[in-house]
């Protein structure tokens, strides 16, 4: 008990715990769509692209959240539009655009070396540096995302499972894809300070992939994913405190441990690999 309570004497630890809970929850709920719709590469790519937005905002002395948010949302919507009209595969488009945006971020950052320390928090995450204002922003954005997901629950379910029939019955499938991309962009921005650009994809994918192995129903999958996400955030943070390792990395490693545990315990006994291969084969033939 003492091991759990004593770190809370530090204000930074209390803030970090609140942030880990919020971020673990929102990432793992949005992550359900990321996993089921094969959007993990988009998630990873958007996280990298956001770096350019953050560096530009930094250079312009603009708010980092707002700068990163605008840039990431625009990139996400741009990708949605390009993939809809272009005949180049979505993966290729993402590979080209997002590495370019990341390279732009690195180029700008290397040009202004004295800012490097602060910006590195965004690369690898530093949840212990989160202040009161960050918490408020994270809480507000998380609440907004959860409200949208709750309101559009059945439409997002239908459009993700069977986009053609959903469209035929009047669900605005294309608009929902853009909504989901925007939600993904906001989720990534919310999580960057805690997990960092490189690891945020794991927060999106791992809890949902864990839940996927434990249930064959959508609602329970979302619930289990959220529990795994929040628990990984909290447990990972304590591990980070006691073993003196980077918080983002330790949260991701705890989530990964959950994933392997679920793989062993899975009633479905199917490996993630098979599932992902199946999903990829059937994926996005929306046209």
């Amino acid at each position: 008990m003492h091991l759990i309570i004593s770190p809370l004497a530090n204000d930074f630890m209390v803030r970090a715990l609140i942030a880990a809970t919020l971020i673990g929850g929102v990432c793992s709920i949005v992550g359900v769509y990321v996993v089921l719709r094969n959007m993990s590469f988009i998630g990873d790519g958007l996280a990298h692209a956001s770096f350019a937005g953050i560096v530009i905002a930094y250079l312009l002395k603009f708010d980092l959240y707002i700068g990163g948010l605008i840039f990431t949302i625009l990139t996400a919507l741009g990708i949605g539009a390009v993939s809809k009209r272009s005949e180049v595969s979505l993966d290729t488009t993402i590979g080209v655009f997002f590495t370019a945006a990341f390279a732009l971020g690195i180029a700008l950052m290397s040009h202004v070396q004295n800012y490097v320390i602060d910006l590195q928090d965004f690369l690898f995450g530093n949840i212990l540096a989160i202040d009161r204002r960050d918490i408020l922003i994270i809480a507000a954005l998380t609440a907004g995302i959860l409200i949208v997901v709750a309101l559009l629950y059945k439409e997002l379910l239908f459009a993700s499972f069977d986009p053609v029939s959903a469209g035929a019955s009047g669900v605005p499938v294309d608009a929902l894809t853009y909504v989901l991309l925007a939600i993904l962009a906001v989720t990534i921005i919310v999580s960057l300070q805690a997990a960092g650009i490189v690891l945020v994809a794991a927060l999106l994918v791992t809890p949902a992939a864990t839940a996927y192995q434990l249930t064959n129903r959508f609602g329970p999958m979302m619930l289990i994913s959220a529990i795994v996400g929040v628990a990984s955030g909290i447990v990972g943070l304590y591990c980070s405190y006691y073993f003196n390792v980077a918080s983002g990395a330790s949260i991701v490693l705890v989530a990964t441990a959950c994933f392997f545990a679920a793989m062993v315990l899975s009633p479905k006994r199917r490996s993630l690999l098979t599932a992902l291969l199946d999903a990829r084969r059937t994926a996005i033939r929306v046209r």
Binding site: L36, R37, R85, E87, L151, L152, K154, E155, L157, F158, S160, F161, D162, P163, V164, S165, A166, G167, A168, S169, G170, V171, Y212, T215, N216, R217, F218, P220, M221, A275, D278, A279, T282, A283, R285, V286, R287
Partner: protein, 298 residues
């Protein structure tokens, strides 16, 4: 059905190289050219909610496609109420595109589509049940048979509203109608192809459609299952539902469909199965090197 033979030459035109058919002949003249199908007078027929109009579907000079390329080129045909229509053609001939155009999923570049006399609209969508091509569905999705069938109520519910107990009861009734009640809690991906098709038909049925559009409903299922699916569709037809199904399997065409549309970007032929299933039409539709005799067992 014998009287339809007098119109044979209107229905069946083999014209891959012929000048374009006169536009507008189908829906403008349709009431005069086409007669009502015998089933249209069935006691169950003509439900009250359907607006008055002679044709279930009137496609007139439609061009449509993706990325500026037309997949459908001046397609015109009319489907009467209560008819069971088969659309045949090779892969990439525009069969799926045609269904999407009828369902209002894809805008037309030229021409017009009328479903029960109306242009595409949310009201018209509620009259249509759509069963998609199997590969457009994410089969690894964590949803059960009941979850899937319940999705059939979503369109009518509209945004933000959750399905009620009545909707759940309707879903269970539709599941029973297609004989899948023993699989209600099974995950959709664990079912066989034929069972999945029946579940998708059940989902379309929940919304009580007047028109069913099925994209390759018998692709990759065995002969017994094909028979079961067609028997189910035949029952729906007898209740007055108009049905359009695409297929590239010709073995079922003569037995089940009232009329067959041979499609290869444009209409190659449209008429009763025995009129369309000639070696001439089929080589014009599928290319000369393919099937010559459609009655050969598959």
């Amino acid at each position: 059905m014998k009287d339809e033979r007098t119109n044979r030459h209107d229905h069946t035109h083999i014209a891959p190289d012929a000048p374009p058919q006169p536009r507008g002949h189908s829906h403008a003249v349709a009431p005069a050219t086409f007669h009502l199908h015998p089933h249209a007078g069935h006691p169950h027929g003509q439900p009250a909610r359907v607006p008055a109009s002679d044709a279930a579907i009137a496609v007139d000079g439609v061009c449509a496609g993706y990325f500026g390329r037309d997949v459908l080129d001046e397609v015109s045909f009319t489907v009467n109420r209560g008819e069971f229509i088969g659309v045949i053609g090779p892969n990439g001939s525009g069969k799926s595109t045609l269904l999407k155009v009828i369902a209002g999923l894809l805008p037309v570049q030229c021409g017009s589509v009328l479903v029960f006399g109306q242009r595409p609209s949310p009201e018209v969508r509620h009259l249509i049940g759509y069963v998609p091509q199997s590969e457009s569905v994410n089969w690894s999705f964590p949803v059960t048979v009941r979850d899937v069938v319940l999705m059939g109520t979503y369109g009518r519910l509209g945004l933000f509203r959750r399905p009620s107990d009545a909707d759940r009861a309707a879903a269970d009734a539709a599941i029973a109608q297609v004989g899948m009640q023993d699989y209600t809690s099974a995950q959709i991906g664990q079912l066989s192809g034929g069972q999945q098709q029946r579940v998708f038909v059940a989902r379309a049925l929940v919304a009580r459609p007047k028109l069913m559009l099925l994209d390759e409903p018998i692709a990759g299922v065995d002969a017994t299952t094909q028979h079961a699916i067609f028997t189910l569709l035949e029952q729906l037809k007898e209740q007055g539902t108009t049905i359009v199904a695409t297929t590239h399997d010709l073995s079922c065409v003569a037995e089940w469909f009232d009329r067959v549309l041979a499609l290869n970007h444009s209409v190659v032929a449209y008429g009763k199965p025995q009129e369309v299933l000639t070696s001439e039409t089929l080589s014009a539709t599928f290319g000369s090197h393919v099937l010559v005799s459609p009655v050969l067992p598959a």
